[in-house]
């Protein structure tokens, strides 16, 4: 008995070693297999490059009024020189597509936009390296998973992406605050931008629904606002310093499609009463049955088929 036990232990150790070596030998997966183990949380740390970091430095929650105030006033002081107000002549934007793909609680928000830059304005400036910043202010009840987005980032889909605000995955919508996703996309030099047809960008964002507050109809409608676009151009060779320009895109965007709406199931308040009662009664009956069985049916000798069935 003891020797068999000892042998078992030895075999167990050999099995561990075998698994250890096969673990080293496994080369399955993408070439960036090792890098995506380290989800670098520091990538989300505050750096001058994210607009929303500055926003959340000043305000505690994401509110539309605060955000608009931030764009109007703070941007100039926090970041870079913003081009003159008559941006309507500089940039025009048209929303081509705003659509939710998929079903259920996990969907993708597909946005397609085209914007045109007035070549005259842009030609005044020296050659810039430009980056498009898309800020998606998510409505209450929807959240983005920062780790999922980081995964996308590592697959080369997006230059830079970060989630700001409430990223607690588990709270229902009425207990959580809004969040925003900031996406950076490289659009090359400003010479490229001044093309006649403008530049079209497509963004696909994976999003998830939270538990919604109760609604008599059984569904909650969540509507998405339009994303905010910013074009940040830095003078060639000098990144992340004062000599860059912000060109906010105009509010009067041409819209070729309706707003995206997400219909999420919610509980119905009138069910609450009988759900509680029936649950309690079921739990109570189950407990009683188990207790009775423990006392009357546990000994094979005293329990015949008739009693138990």
């Amino acid at each position: 008995m003891e020797s068999q036990h000892v042998r078992l232990c030895i075999y167990y150790k050999v099995a561990i070693l075998l698994m250890f070596f096969s673990a080293i030998g496994i080369q399955v997966g993408r070439c960036e297999a090792n890098s995506d183990v380290n989800y670098n949380i520091k990538a989300f740390s505050s750096s001058k490059k994210y607009l929303m970091t500055s926003y959340f430095g000043k305000y505690e929650k994401l509110l539309d009024s605060n955000f608009e105030e931030f764009i109007a006033n703070e941007l100039r002081t926090s970041f870079c020189e913003v081009l003159p107000d008559n941006t309507s002549s500089v940039i025009r934007r048209s929303v081509l597509l705003r659509h939710l793909i998929g079903e259920g609680s996990h969907r993708n928000l597909l946005s397609s936009m085209r914007f045109y830059v007035d070549p005259k304005s842009l030609s005044r400036l020296p050659s810039h390296k430009c980056e498009l910043i898309v800020i998606e202010r998510l409505p209450s009840g929807i959240f983005a998973d920062p780790f999922e987005l980081q995964h996308l980032h590592q697959r080369g889909v997006l230059t830079d992406v970060a989630v700001f605000g409430d990223t607690n995955l588990e709270l229902p919508s009425f207990r959580s605050n809004r969040s925003a996703v900031e996406i950076h996309m490289n659009v090359g030099s400003n010479r490229l931008l001044s093309q006649k047809d403008g530049l079209e960008i497509k963004v696909q964002l994976p999003l998830h629904a939270r538990y919604q507050p109760l609604d008599e109809s059984g569904y909650s409608q969540v509507e998405f606002g339009d994303p905010d676009l910013f074009l940040r151009c830095c003078i060639e060779g000098k990144l992340q310093n004062q000599s860059c320009l912000f060109i906010p895109t105009s509010e009067n965007a041409e819209r070729k499609t309706g707003r995206a709406v997400w219909r999420i199931p919610s509980g119905i308040k009138s069910h609450g009463g009988f759900v509680s009662v029936v649950t309690f009664v079921s739990a109570f009956i189950s407990t009683i049955l188990i207790v009775l069985t423990s006392f009357f049916c546990s000994d094979f000798k005293t329990c015949n088929r008739l009693k138990c069935s």
Partner: protein, 426 residues
């Protein structure tokens, strides 16, 4: 090979009565526990490799989301940070510590560790049953119930840490069977720190550390499996059971009990204290109060048959808990093989009906969950009813197992003249 259990006039237990194959035929196929373990090990390695492939090539990942949480927490710990900076990480820092090689060697290190614990559980199941003198073939079938159970082999290979907890609990049972109270206490303190649910086992363990069974310097005596049908042995224990309860209350502070309580408490508090100091971690307190009644009844009734008592408590706990997930099933699956040799349930049709009812209720529940989460339909009411149906299924299975179980205390009393029947069956 001894066929003593075949000689009984009583109907033989289910597993020795497998349809269409006689035991002598099976004896000729010389599968033994070593081959079983090798087979299970190879199978798990294949599953882990397949899991890596599926992660890279398919939309739906094989790996559990929790595994990614552990890995992130482990890499945070490796760079000197707190693992709790990773949202939704709620386990002990020990787990993150063990997974540090994920960032150094390969990201599947954790899966191999969990699968190894999985195999260890199989080894322990076999050991426990051997200690209780269960025939080899029954030991093997019981081990198979764990090693080739689709619920359990996917848990380890998907990167869930539950097999480690199961291995620790079974090791505690082995220590108690061998009389190593100190070691049992140490591992018990550690396992409760790791996962809070084993706290429900404290009472039956304390109850079984009775001076009648445990005395310093003596190894405890175990009752044999073959004497489970012995009326006189059991009835004498039954009569004294009630007496023992009173005596237990009087001798509640026996040396073994005090030692167990102190050592496990000390281990638990030092682990928790250390990690609280390092990471400021707070306990997850589960609302155990509403489980209390059921637990007390089960303990009062079944404490002497320790594995059965633990099994009943665990199933009741999981069934009545407000959160149920598949990984919790592993908590009682590791204890199920320990009680099967004492069960009179036949696979046809009682055993099969239990399995089908339980799995059927789960699939039904999962279907509504799928419709809600992935199809966006308002099926809250149906989902709730499916949950209640699953509770009913669990109750049904519990009742069936209880009715068909032969209540068998684990230990014999020390220092008493051995009963003639017990000697005969040794």
């Amino acid at each position: 090979m001894k066929k003593s259990h075949f000689c009984d006039a009583e109907p033989a237990p289910a597993f020795s009565n497998l349809p269409s194959v006689s035991l002598s035929q099976l004896a000729m196929i010389s599968i033994n526990i070593r081959s079983l373990l090798w087979l299970s090990a190879i199978f798990r390695v294949i599953l882990i490799v397949y899991g890596e492939w599926q992660d890279s090539h398919m939309e739906v990942r094989y790996t559990d989301v929790d595994y990614l949480v552990f890995s992130d927490a482990a890499s945070l710990m490796a760079s000197g940070d707190s693992p709790y900076k990773r949202t939704t990480y709620r386990y002990s820092p020990l787990l993150a510590f063990f997974l540090i090689p994920n960032s150094i060697i390969h990201r599947s290190w954790g899966k191999f560790l969990f699968s190894a614990s999985d195999l260890l559980v199989g080894v322990f199941i076999h050991s426990i049953l051997k200690l209780r003198k269960v025939p080899e073939d029954l030991c093997m079938y019981s081990a198979v119930v764990w090693l080739f159970n689709p619920f359990t082999f996917t848990i380890g290979t998907r990167g869930n840490c539950e097999p480690i907890v199961c291995a620790m609990i079974l090791w505690i049972i082995i220590c108690l069977l061998k009389g190593n109270v100190l070691q049992a206490a140490f591992w018990y303190g550690l396992v409760v720190h790791f996962r809070i649910y084993p706290i429900i086992y404290v009472l039956p363990i304390i109850l079984i550390l009775d001076p009648l069974f445990f005395r310093s310097g003596l190894k405890p005596r175990l009752q044999n499996w073959s004497s489970r049908q012995d009326k006189t042995l059991r009835s004498s224990n039954k009569v004294t059971d009630q007496y023992d309860l009173w005596k237990a209350l009087k001798t509640v502070f026996s040396k073994e009990r005090v030692m167990f309580g102190l050592v496990s408490g000390a281990v638990f508090l030092s682990c928790t204290g250390l990690f609280f100091y390092l990471y400021g971690w707070e306990f997850l307190h589960e609302a155990l109060l509403y489980h209390l009644t059921l637990q007390l009844v089960l303990i009062f009734r079944f404490a002497q048959d320790l594995p059965f008592c633990l099994f009943m408590q665990t199933v009741a706990f999981v069934a009545f808990n407000k959160v149920v997930t598949a990984q919790y099933f592993v908590w009682f699956f590791c204890l199920l093989p320990l009680i099967l040799p004492w069960s009179n349930m036949k696979l046809k049709w009682e055993g099969l009906s239990c399995i089908l009812v339980w799995i059927g209720a789960q699939l039904h529940w999962l279907m509504w969950g799928y419709l809600l989460e992935f199809k966006g339909k308002n099926v809250f009411l149906q989902l709730w009813l499916a949950g209640l149906l699953f509770l009913a299924a669990n109750t049904f299975v519990l009742i069936m197992i209880t009715c068909r179980h032969t209540y068998s205390p684990v230990f014999q009393r020390l220092g008493h003249p051995t009963l003639k029947n017990a000697e005969k069956n040794n």
